[in-house]
Symmetry: C2
Subunit: 253 residues, 2 copies
DNA sequence: AAATCGCAAATCATACATTTTTATGGAACG
DNA sequence: CGTTCCATAAAAATGTATGATTTGCGATTT
């Protein structure tokens, strides 16, 4: 056994392994998914969908049994999720699904408006044909989904709805900002799905308006329209959160 | 009473506890630190300080031997760091210290200016005596440090310099935004420390100007001053990155 | 009734087995 | 003779199982 591997000084010697130089994270090769990654993705979905309820303890063994894997991949997945704030980690005490609250929801929407306003502003500022076409395509896919249909329809709606909003900010020129916005989208989606507030039919027209304003290139109007869009959902969810937060603490006095 | 764990509302009550690394989690007691947490914190510091060089492979066994722990805590720490983008994770292939590049550095500074501009704007908008006093205290501590002194002085400078910039945005009303800004601060500090560009004597006066402008409450001037501050470091670091990046790719003819 | 002691359950850490990747060497081919 | 391809072996990461510490809760005692 080589005991003291010089961890510090070893330069990237092999020149033929330089193929991973390009882009920031293009190496999303889906063919080699590890168990920890699978658990991470599935548990993330289950948290967003509210299948595991806020406040619930995520016992290692229980999660391992739930997904049919060992404890070690579960620990790695939970540790990743804790850095994304999708689970609360308490040393020596375990992992928990984060609580929801009205204040957290408002802060989330507020921050989302700030960041996506910046991202949309920059995206429009850097606009080109390719970006505008991706938005058109994203809206086209969204328009073929009915948010009021069956479960499969709603699943498609969620996917394409998210893709549309990602497309809006995809031209901002900062992978950092896009990552932050997507994290906030995750958490917003958790609130939406937990609240079981489904979009209504006017949602498609609402997004069409957003698209048109964005394509016109008027930054101020586009940002205002997008923020209004989020403010509208803010109001709808607030009602449900009051109900849910109340049901969490029944107070049988 | 619903124990709404105030994930967001923690006021800057005790500023003297901020000398600990950005208290992202209000750790109840530091003695409960688990090995994974210790490795996470130490390795994070070593990455920021450039003790492990960009592109370096972080072999599990080597890291475990380095910090005198088992492999499992190391894996958990690396998984946490991967979600913070402080290490690159490639399934089945291991973990690596992220590469540095001129483009990444510019994107980082750009994003940082966007987010901290928003955060500073909101902080000033919500300004109160308590917040202004924390800034004064933070600057006072900073002013007693010499960035040109010995190693201990520089360490103090780094801590208080970071604390000062955190204090500026601490009143923005969004823990989300603060967390994002701190993540960007981490990465910016990595570039600064790797580039070995130490602040000069005028740095203190520069920060005094920032403080004064912020305390005056003029949002536009404060934001402009802060952005200029970051643009200045941008320029200084760019030179060094060219040197470092050039040394990494010695086009071997 | 409050505090303390002790047992059960879960997390944490170590050691071991399995699978994948990567490096090396040789043979076939141009 | 140099290059490419393939097979094999070493090395490393992933996954499983087991033992040690810690936490939480309940019964007991003062």
């Amino acid at each position: 056994m080589s005991e003291a591997k010089s961890l510090v000084a070893e330069p990237p010697a092999a020149p033929d392994t330089m193929k991973r130089r390009a882009g920031r994270r293009p190496a999303t090769s889906p063919d080699k998914a590890t168990s920890a990654t699978l658990v991470h993705d599935k548990l993330r979905q289950d948290i967003l969908k509210g299948i595991v309820v806020p406040g619930q303890k995520l016992a290692i063994d229980a999660v391992a049994a739930m997904y049919g894997v060992g404890t070690n991949p579960v620990r790695e997945a939970l540790n990743r999720l804790s850095s994304e704030r999708l689970v609360d980690r308490q040393d020596q005490r375990g992992f928990f699904v984060p609580e929801i609250s009205l204040d957290s929801w408002r802060e989330l929407v507020k921050t989302r408006c700030w960041l996506e306003s910046t991202a949309l502003t920059e995206s429009i500022h850097n606009r080109d044909d390719r970006w505008e076409e991706t938005i058109v395509v994203a809206f086209h896919r969204l328009s073929k989904c009915s948010p009021t249909g069956d479960a499969q329809d709603r699943a498609g709606w969620e996917i394409h709805h998210r893709a549309f909003h990602v497309a809006l900010i995809a031209n901002c020129g900062s992978q950092w900002l896009m990552d932050f916005c997507e994290i906030l989208m995750d958490h917003a989606q958790r609130y939406i799905l937990i609240s079981a507030v489904s979009a209504n039919r006017s949602a498609i027209e609402e997004h069409r308006v957003i698209m048109e304003v964005v394509l016109q290139g008027d930054i101020a109007r586009a940002v205002a329209t997008l923020v209004e869009h989020y403010q509208r959902t803010l109001y709808h969810i607030e009602e449900q959160i009051r109900v849910l937060a109340g049901s969490v603490t029944p107070h049988a006095t």
